[in-house]
């Protein structure tokens, strides 16, 4: 049920393993979603999680982020169990889920100002620049409920550009994006990995990045 393939010809052993899971097991309502699942994610890698609807992709990501604790098995952050490194782990992590974390009443700028401030200090100019990059120039001061589904998604993606987090965990980030948005985001994933970050992403797209690993949940 579980298959791990690597597409990059040569694994660069000089890079550290950032996150790895050992013999993960999860069941919901008597249905085993995955068992004996091992994976490891090195710096510079993109791990794409595949699987049909209901195979447990979202569940896996939420487990890794500590948002779901109904699992068995072990997860390590640079070799240490994550429970022991929570603070450090959370300062290096960005998670964008199905619900993107954009308050409808606030403007994109206000949203980013807050959600970034939970991790690091960000100047307003940086926020404006990031919004321009995700194609929201002119919408900086509109309240988010006036934005379309894709535009709201873009607000949350701007966080990727602002943050210095090393690990991105993205749950179907491409869904509402148009063609140009998809291309842009793919570029960011590639750049982030090339700069030594790591990405876990669920998507049905096929990604073009340097060091791609697949994890298939069936």
């Amino acid at each position: 049920m579980v298959a791990v393939e690597t597409e990059s010809g040569l694994a660069e052993t000089s890079r550290l393993t950032m996150l790895n899971g050992e013999s993960l097991f999860c069941e919901r309502d008597d249905r085993v979603l995955f068992e004996n699942l091992d994976f490891s994610l090195r710096e510079g890698q993109v791990l794409q999680i595949k699987g049909s609807n209901g195979s447990g992709k979202t569940t896996l990501l939420r487990i890794l982020c500590g948002l779901n604790d109904s699992y068995e098995g072990k997860i390590f952050w640079y070799g240490d169990p994550i429970e022991e490194k929570v603070e450090q782990y959370y300062s290096s992590l960005i998670y964008i889920g199905h619900r993107v974390g954009v308050n409808k009443v606030l403007t994109p700028v206000e949203n980013l100002r807050w959600s970034c401030s939970l991790q690091q200090q960000v100047a307003d100019e940086e926020i404006y620049a990031a919004l321009a990059k995700v194609g929201l120039r002119g919408f900086e001061e509109s309240q988010c409920f006036t934005l379309s589904a894709g535009q709201q998604q873009r607000v949350s993606l701007a966080k990727l550009l602002l943050s210095h987090a090393k690990l991105w965990v993205l749950d179907e980030p491409f869904t509402t994006l148009d063609a140009s948005g998809v291309k842009q985001l793919e570029g960011w994933l590639r750049d982030h990995a090339d700069k030594g970050g790591a990405v876990m992403v669920t998507t049905h797209h096929s990604l073009s990045v340097t060091d791609l690993q697949m994890l298939d949940l069936g």
Binding site: Y90, Y95, V100, N103, L106, L118, Q120, V122, Q143
Partner: protein
Amino acid sequence: MNQQATTGQAFRATLKRDLIIAYKRKNDLVNPFMFFLIVATLFPIGISPGPDRLGEIAAGVLWISALLASLLAMDNLYRSDYEDGSLEQLLLSPHPLYFLVLAKNISHWLVSGLPVVLVSPLIAYMLNLPDAAYAALFITLLLGTPVLSLLGSIGVALTVGLGSRGLILAVITLPLSVPVLIAGTLTVQETLNGASLGGYLAIMGAMLLAALTLAPLASSAALRISVN
């Protein structure tokens, strides 16, 4: 720039964000005390007592109205954050959740509790509250409503993932709030009977302190459970 934010900064950012949201919604500011006013009006209408009778029940009516206003206002403490995913972001912050939850509670009380306290003397007048009871009423509300907010926060945190929150929240929170209600009304009544405020206020102050230190912990734990 671009260095790690301190917990203090995250606390302030959260406080500010919630205040901005309340300010933008406007209604969040006006409605709690409008609700308080309206509910307090229902009593003379529903009970239609003579003026003296009214004065006797006034303190209780005010406290119950404040309790209900606080309860109804609670509903939007974590709700929209849960629905749009901001709550997950909050839980994924590297800072102690205690402070972030506290920030949210404080901003919520400033917006929904304080106006109720401030408008209470007006309604007390309309309800014929005896003159001697004004100070006691005001101070007990000032000390008591934050406790109600902090307790309510636990209830909301527990129920935020549910479809029909309003009522279950009430069913969980109201019994928890009864001690505050008793302390508040008793203080007012005893001052009317000539007792000094001091002792009673000490009790209410202790309640507030305990709630401030413990309730956000419970809320944090509850939030983690709800998001799961």
